[in-house]
Symmetry: C2
Subunit: 359 residues, 2 copies
């Protein structure tokens, strides 16, 4: 977080070698860039491996298996895979990590590839254990770099479905508002529509713009916070049953929380930077939470199940809306890294092409 | 809410008569007084039945069945019962109300006896349908007026248990903080201890005092916010897994929310009055919610299942801590109504004795 030297550069690493019998070696094909990467590149976040003076960035990856250890049964050389991000903490007392649910790690001593104490995927090759690999069908080669950002919505929706089973709720005929129209928001909107929600995307820029067009292409309705206040949003939607926050700023999020409907759920997924305290009508917020039986849920990272769900859903999105998912992507060569990590590139999701078979 | 005439008085009603075949007539024995009653008596809350210029108050009741309609099968004359508070809305589209879960009413058009559009229980006799009655064993006659306030914790804990099953959590070895040491808080602490939580009660007044003694008598640890900051509270507790808010004020609640642990749940049950907005570090709140996978839950009212659970638990409390539950109660004659509803009576839970067999 507070390194002696701050620079972004391409460095030479030795080719990584298989260590244990269950290791696989991956050739990276594509790596997505997100806000966390930009925070790391601004040296506001991130933590290199112990003993290392640098951190290899990148956690949204698509790769091909090129070599496997003698004990590998889950994948074969040639397989297309998306590797998971988080690795379990070492503590025997951590029930989530000991159950394969390190996305709920109770100790905070997990590692995350490309973020926290372990090198990431913006590299030609990496070695990792087979258990962190999710197999991707070849037809999803053009879009599977979006599996990881989609897992954010998958984990959130899995939890929402579970939580709402505590009352007679169901999902048919329900409304959802997605807050923010970046990749996480737009993928979340697609997942919500497939799950049966009538879905609005609420974001800053007035339509027409590329993000509004992407939202409307999949059947979401797009409203701008510059033309519609949260009260006007509520009037358009009627009862807001679910809010999926994907904007990473607390002020607009708490504004929308104030119009959440009875029995509604508000999911936070963004990690905001630290700004000054803001004034909140906490009495009203508390009254509404109680009298309306509301739930506010924070969700981070995702388990293996969410990766599998995301792969299934990407296929479903492609079937329903041909071309819509691919239109989110803008491809760049690795040499563009500085602009991608520190500038404001156009498009919706920036992807770095690494391997030779990149489309 | 804004009546032409504001006064508190004892009025004469005709003896209520059985209407439908499933009606029962109750002779009231005891009625508890809570903060909602005091808000209604201050004309800040509450709503009389349509066409009525007054509202009979009282929703925490213990009664004896004295007469039943020809179709009544659930109770017999002589039975001890606690009647529910909320009545379903009339809308066919309201799935919760149509499923007997009017505590999750989606339309807001429910009624509540003694609170909203239906007379309450601070009366000699009432008539109601058998489906809202929960049978109470005779041994609980001295304490069963606490069933209704205990249902707040029962509904909340039922939801917490359900919600936490979304991850490898379990309840053994977990910690809970109860915020507030009134009857709802102390009954909540007992329920949490029975459920296996190591439980702290965090309230304003420094010990020794009657509420601290009541908390400690059941094995909770009592800390005062005047001697322990929320950071000191966290140091005492370690990881705070659950907070059960029973204080009805948002400022201390949001203070404690800031020290909730990873995978923790914060339950709001209080309905605060409206004060000025306060400054909250919403960025930090949002970061913690997300990075710690936290849940904030608002909970109001309770379903039939929670009444049954509360009756079972009161018996368990009496078995574990003989005399502890009864020590929460201070009995008064109905003539003390004005002081009870507008003054600051001592003790923990104020109870009005109505029927002739009152203890």
């Amino acid at each position: 977080m507070n390194p002696a030297r701050r620079s972004l550069e391409i460095v030479e690493h030795d080719e990584p070698q298989l260590g244990s019998a269950t290791d696989v070696r991956l050739r990276l094909l594509e790596v997505g860039v997100c806000g966390t990467d930009r925070e790391i590149a601004a040296f506001e976040y991130g933590d290199p491996p112990p003993g290392s003076e640098h951190l290899v960035i990148g956690h949204e990856a698509l790769a091909r298996v090129v070599d496997v250890g003698t004990g590998v049964t889950a994948v074969e050389p040639g397989a297309l895979v998306v590797p998971m991000v988080r690795r379990p903490c070492p503590h025997a007392s951590c029930r989530p990590c000991r159950s394969g649910r390190q996305d709920f790690c109770a100790t905070g001593d997990f590692r995350e590839r490309g973020i926290k104490q372990q090198h990431g995927y913006m590299a030609e090759a990496v070695v990792d254990d087979q258990e962190y690999m999710s197999l991707v069908p070849e037809e999803l080669r053009p879009v599977a770099v979006l599996v990881e950002p989609l897992t954010i919505a998958e984990k959130a929706l899995e939890q929402v479905r579970h939580i709402q089973r505590r009352l007679p709720w169901g999902t048919d005929g329900h409304t959802a508002v997605v807050l923010g129209a970046g990749p996480v928001g737009l993928l979340g909107a697609m997942a919500l529509i497939v799950a049966g929600f009538e879905t609005w995307v609420y974001s800053r820029s007035p339509a027409p713009n590329q993000k509004a067009a992407a939202a409307e292409a999949v059947g979401a309705r797009y409203l701008s916070s510059e033309t519609h206040s949260v009260d006007q949003l509520r009037e358009e939607v009627g009862t807001i049953d679910l809010v999926y926050e994907a904007v990473g700023a607390s002020k607009p999020a708490f504004d929308v929380l104030s119009v959440l409907g009875t029995n509604g759920v508000f999911v936070f997924t963004g990690v905001p930077g630290r700004k000054a305290p803001v004034e909140v009508d906490t009495d009203r917020l508390m009254r509404d939470l109680v009298l309306r039986n509301q739930v506010v849920l924070g969700s981070v990272n995702a388990g293996k199940g969410a990766f599998e769900e995301a792969i299934g859903h990407l296929r479903e999105f492609d079937r329903r809306w041909p071309g819509a998912v691919r239109s989110l992507l803008t491809h760049h060569p690795i040499e563009a890294y500085e602009e991608l990590l520190t500038g404001r590139a156009g498009g919706i999701k920036q992807v770095v092409d690494i391997g030779e078979e990149a489309s």
